[in-house]
Symmetry: C2
Subunit: 446 residues, 2 copies
């Protein structure tokens, strides 16, 4: 039993890492090579493989397959510890991190608290739209989708039934596109067989995008391919469509059009976790913390920022909020802290773009690398292998592969289950400060 | 869209099956051979493979692997429909079943609404103990167990920490024994590696049994084997110990002894679902409905009872509340309804005991058949294959096998995740009558 409440007892520097996302996990693993004590804090006991969350929502893979226990990841490192808890405050002057249960001193701090959905002050968006940013949200969305189909089977009123069967996705970026594709394949495959009494021509998947194109960050020929492919699959694409308001079961556009839809999914934008600002860090555009070239926070050379929270530019502009960026930042931060400890000069962070991939559906994806671009089957195979390779844990890889193969060969989805979704450990005492901490990952039930 | 609210429209008899447990599912599948319309109602959209629920609680398999979508099971039968809903009342005179959203007429009714935990009026048991009867309960218990370990890592007070690390199971029947074995292997295997800072000698798994032996329904040499095996594994077995009261974190025995334990699991007894009585059925011992030799309810020749709700005797006494009984009853009922429809004489139900199996831990189980008894490795291999064969769905079988093999060869548990547990579909309107229906599967959060 380690008493975390008292200050650093040992001779070794104590490094606290907040957030077990891609950045935090990578930093903690990298730091474990050094003679330091590491404390990784997260509100979940698992790391979430966020790029596949949309597949959880689309009933393609089980929630357990995108979640990996943090303790397993840290297990082989004797000097890396995990603390389950919500960080409620950070005192940068006294170098203390306060969770809902503990106060812990740090010599170095790595903040990887990620991002939350950005609703751009659109009225009703936060209250009435589903999100796909956390595992809870993805599972809740899966329940909602399957529940709508169940209710539609005995809904006699045409309008009410069509409302249940209309799924409106806001945002034509990779998340929105991938989810739209997965939804339409879920409908045309397994749900067609599961709901023989439903007229599936009443089902609509609508993708709303404010810009004139989808996948803004990809090359224009890949955008055109995506648009053609979505149309072919049956997704109704509304470009140049700005959302003005979301009501319960209704989405309104600025041009006056509206969509009656029981399920509205918000896949638009993200902004940095507002906790950073609460904790007193100077934040800029999109709530992010502008770090220096070494990824250090302003005024705090022993505080490093990684992942979606960090604002850093290279020749091509600000780095995107993507897993590869977070992973490379985590690696760089662990190296710089290692150098700081032995009083060596630290090194600037340099991002190497590994390329981006997005899948649209069966045999259809887009891939963009510095020199090459691919679409269709080749890009799709690339996507499959890159994502399989990245999933932490050999066992999860096998299970995800079984699910994908099942889907691919039998047009079948594994997990069409309306399952429990709220965490419950009410026997365990949890203090009140939890409210602030929940801001970290706002969800519909907050 | 079928209008279920109006009376039988077609020429074909309409059969309503309430409950998608072993009895209900088997009856519905058997009935699908006849020229009838079948409506299977359940509050979950999945069938739960209850014999493996304790493995979900012990973080051995994922919840999705013991749950199978009902629509998949019925998919190949054009005349079998599924309705997701809570049955709130049955009108046996007007032949109507009311769910929270629909009223549906039946010509024949099959009731398979199962059983709930029996607390024998022991004060505090229902409020303060965990159960393993539903998937929600199993998932909640897994969260609780893992949460206790997480909290223990930073609990400095010795007594509070030992309380967090004491797991008390009430009931030495197969469920209690299987869960105790799975718990101790979870602790000695994965948790030992996950929590290197904890002193695992502080962890206790206590099994409380009122009788002088465990596994009362098995032969006495199998009972002795089980007792020896549990002791060898490290389970503290308290025989002749009657529980007098359960408080939050404390269990008291009639002889004055008490156990301080954050997690108390109720694996004692079951009684028939009290809904049957609310609906006006004449119930007897343990809330069960005494059916005739054809499994018909008293006074209602078109109402059949299957599974845990049905009270029926053979030469050896009342049939036990077990899956094989429910499955054979479901099959018999479907045949009898088929005969009734064509005005043939119906046939009495005859139970064929296929033998019973219970696993204690790695390479250790007991198996009892009419002529043979096995213990140890042979029984354990039998247990593995019988349960794998029974799990519905080829894909689930593969996934469960992967998890078991993983556990067996690497002493590792797959799913040590503290995951969401409450169903959430709050966007979908649910009327108020739900309260009564929740009685069906009382759980800690009711």
């Amino acid at each position: 039993m380690l008493d975390l409440r008292i200050a650093n007892k040992g001779d070794r520097p104590r490094i606290v890492v907040v957030g077990a996302g891609f950045g935090g996990i990578t930093a903690a693993k990298g730091l474990a090579r050094f003679p330091v004590d590491i404390y990784l804090i997260d509100r979940n006991n698992y790391h979430t493989f966020t790029p596949l969350l949309y597949q959880v929502a689309a009933a393609e893979i089980e929630s357990g397959q995108v979640a990996y226990p943090v303790r397993s990841i840290l297990r082989k490192h004797d000097n890396a510890n995990f603390i389950l808890g919500d960080v409620v405050a950070v005192d940068f002057d006294r170098q203390l991190v306060k969770t809902d249960e503990l106060t812990i001193y740090y010599d170095y701090l790595v903040l990887g608290i990620g991002s939350v959905s950005h609703f751009f002050n659109i009225p009703g968006a936060e209250e009435n739209a589903y999100q796909v940013k956390t595992l809870d949200q993805a599972t809740a969305l899966r329940n909602q989708i399957l529940g709508c189909f169940e209710h539609a089977t005995h809904e006699l009123d045409d309008i009410a039934r069509r409302r249940l069967l209309t799924f409106t996705i806001v945002g034509g970026g990779p998340t929105g596109v991938e989810f739209a594709g997965a939804m339409i394949e879920l409908i045309n495959g397994p749900l067609r067989k599961d709901f023989p009494t439903l007229n599936l021509r009443e089902v609509r998947v609508i993708l709303i995008e404010a810009a004139a194109t989808v996948m803004g960050s990809f090359a224009s020929d890949l955008q055109r391919y995506t648009i053609k492919r979505l149309a072919k699959m049956g997704v109704e694409l509304c470009l140049n469509s700005k959302v003005s308001r979301i009501e319960r079961g209704k989405l309104l556009l600025e041009d006056g059009r509206s969509f009656i839809s029981e399920t509205i999914i918000w896949a638009v934008g993200v902004r940095a976790n507002p906790l950073a600002q609460y904790w007193g860090l100077r934040t800029g555009r999109n709530g992010m913390v502008s770090v220096n070239e070494y990824l250090q926070a302003p005024d705090h050379p022993n505080v490093y920022i990684v992942g979606d929270l960090a604002m850093i530019k290279d020749d091509t502009g600000p780095l995107p909020m993507l897993a590869p960026v977070a992973i490379q930042e985590g690696r760089a931060v662990s190296r710089n802290i290692g150098r700081q400890i032995v009083k060596k000069e630290i090194r600037p962070f340099k991002y190497k773009d590994p390329g981006t991939l997005a899948t649209i559906g069966r045999n259809a994806a887009v891939a963009q690398f510095t020199r090459w671009k691919f679409t269709g089957f080749v890009a799709w195979v690339l996507w499959v292998f890159v994502h399989l390779a990245k999933i932490i844990g050999f066992r999860n890889r096998i299970l995800v592969l079984v699910n994908w193969a099942w889907d691919y060969f039998f047009f079948e989805r594994a997990v069409r289950l309306i399952m429990p979704t709220e965490r419950r450990t009410d026997n365990i005492h949890r203090p009140e400060q939890i409210d602030l901490a929940r801001e970290k990952q706002p969800s519909r039930r907050d």
